[in-house]
Amino acid sequence: MEDTIVRYVSRIILPFVQLYGLYVVLHGHLSPGGGFSGGTIIGASMILYALSFNLAAGSKKLSHDVSSILESTGALIFAGMGLISLLLGANFLANRIAGFPLGTPGNIFSSGSIVIITFGVGIKVASTMITLFFSLIEEEHSHEHH
């Protein structure tokens, strides 16, 4: 599937799509959206890259190993923030009671641990989307190499 128009258009809009996804993830505690929505947008942008260029280029940008590491990293960030709250002497995923600084409402560095948790969820969802797409579209025999 070699199409010049699709390639040029996706090359132009891809940075904006990824920036918007990052914006939705990082402003999850301030505006509508959050880890799931923003992660889906980032994952969809990677799928768009793999579709408009070719599949080999897409999996070269983000291989199976890297995306599985990212997936585990997202889950670990979520569980780790919960365990840090436990270590600080509060309930699992406790925020203000565990002593995280809340900051001024409306700033991007506010709301304590929610920013970090949302970021972890974003990483997890984005890499899950990419893994779902690649494992569905790839041929059967290529699984033996992984």
Binding site: P32, G33, G34, F36, T40, I41, A44, L132
Partner: protein, 79 residues
């Protein structure tokens, strides 16, 4: 005015749902389903749920369509 728009979208949603179920060609069913999801995202926005609207636009109109098209390309196109 915005109420008329809402009812138009609702009628469009019902038509889309019926035609997705009745389509013989799988690819056209997927495309109608993407249109359904897009209209549903606009409706979520009008119903003051922008969070759900963003998710619906990204998941419903984007990723679900891609995954279903990938599944069709692996199987038969006709029902």
């Amino acid at each position: 005015m915005i109420d008329v728009f809402k009812y138009l979208i609702l009628v469009f949603l019902v038509f889309c749902a019926v035609f997705v179920a009745r389509a013989k060609n799988m690819l056209s069913a997927v495309i109608i389903f993407a249109a359904y999801s897009l209209m549903m995202a606009i409706l979520w926005l009008l119903l003051a749920a922008p969070d759900v609207a963003i998710t619906e636009a990204a998941i419903g109109a984007g990723v679900t369509t891609l995954l279903l098209v990938a599944a069709i390309s692996k199987t038969r196109r006709e029902e």
